[in-house]
Symmetry: C2
DNA sequence: ATTGTAATTTGACAGTGTCAAGATTGGTTG
DNA sequence: CAACCAATCTTGACACTGTCAAATTACAAT
């Protein structure tokens, strides 16, 4: 038995892979995707420049791994929100909008990693990331259909298309807030309400 | 009179500044913002690595200049669309949505420069760029109010907020299409229609 | 103890943006 | 016309970046 799972603890450092991921997450939170440098990362973990290459093919794969983790958590949050039986469905949807925008603003750098260009441009996304992200969207679609059935999203529209457009709306608003184009987050509540009014009926 | 306007033609190269801008625009169209390199740019124009520094403080200012140019053109297009008296107002708005998405997809790299993170993150935008972009948004607001008055955008909402949200919707959809998240542009028409149905009434 | 193999490091290369100092050039002035 | 001068452009240099190939280290099994 010569194979050792690289994710298991190794001798030199306990779970270097995990430490790399943790440190990268920290760097992203602090300075955004563009602040992630493999060499600074190595310094932070206390390892040589190219050590990360044994666990991640290149920088892109490392970032995709982090993004994928983000989508997994996102999925869980989504489930929690829409399984909360204490609120009426329409309130849950309003809560979802609120949660979306709040999360995006408070975790701007991480949101930017997940939905930003660095990863999605010209098919650089890992297969794993694509799949996980696709699952999240599937959830969004079924959730949309459910809301249509419950009568507060327009039933005339195709669910898939409607899911795209509603999600696009939230995504767009989030981007405006994060990048500070034409907006700052001081009026986030009003924007959420306005969006809810437009989308729901 | 010792001053010579740097924008005027110089002796070594006729209007180097203009040539730099042109070449940069080309690079953006070909490979996106992230493909712009000052050294490759210099090569392309046939000048030394640091020549551009005489006309632009740094790379960021160069990009902002290009983006600003984009916003000026954007402004003109917007005027054209909403001054077209041959169509009824509602059709003009639908046409605007169509134009927006088409432009974004067909000039993805340029759209990305104008509305993407590279320029807007943490206040790196030039004052000039900010102003020009702000003017465009102002137009969007007055246009929104006009549409509210004409009765096909909800009159109950605050114009500024509504302008933000409608624009956010288009921006979000454009980003989804450009980055290829959950979508490709083969269903752009349906997405435009769906968005129009949601926004207008 | 030796061998094998996985983990890690070192060296190197081709890029990048940007600063400081030097070289070039053409118009203005003595 | 010659000298100067300031705008323009180039060269050299520095500190970064990602990534590959080869050498080194360290542990497990024989």
């Amino acid at each position: 038995m010569s194979k050792i799972k690289p994710t298991e603890k190794s001798y030199h450092h306990d779970d270097l892979r995990g430490k790399l991921i943790d440190a990268t997450r920290g760097m992203i939170r602090e300075g955004g995707v563009e602040a992630v440098s493999l060499r600074k990362l190595a310094d932070r973990v206390g390892v040589s420049r190219t050590a990360a290459y044994h666990y991640f093919k290149d920088k892109n794969v490392l970032l995709c791994t982090l993004a994928q983790e983000g989508f997994r958590i996102w999925q869980e949050e989504l489930d929690n929100i829409f399984q909360d039986e204490t609120k009426p469905p329409a309130d849950r949807y309003r809560g979802y909008i609120r949660w979306y925008m709040t999360y995006a603003v408070e975790n701007a750098e991480y949101y930017d990693l997940m939905f930003g260009r660095a990863i999605w441009k010209q098919n650089t996304a890992t297969e794993g990331l694509k799949k996980t992200a696709y699952d999240v969207f599937q959830k969004q679609v079924t959730m949309t259909r459910q809301c249509q059935d419950q009568g507060f999203l327009p039933a005339t529209e195709d669910s898939l298309r409607l899911a795209q457009v509603t999600w696009g709306t939230l995504h767009g608003l989030a981007r405006l807030l994060i990048d500070g184009i034409y907006t700052d987050d001081s009026h986030m509540d009003e924007m959420c309400d306005c969006a809810a009014n437009l989308l729901m009926r």
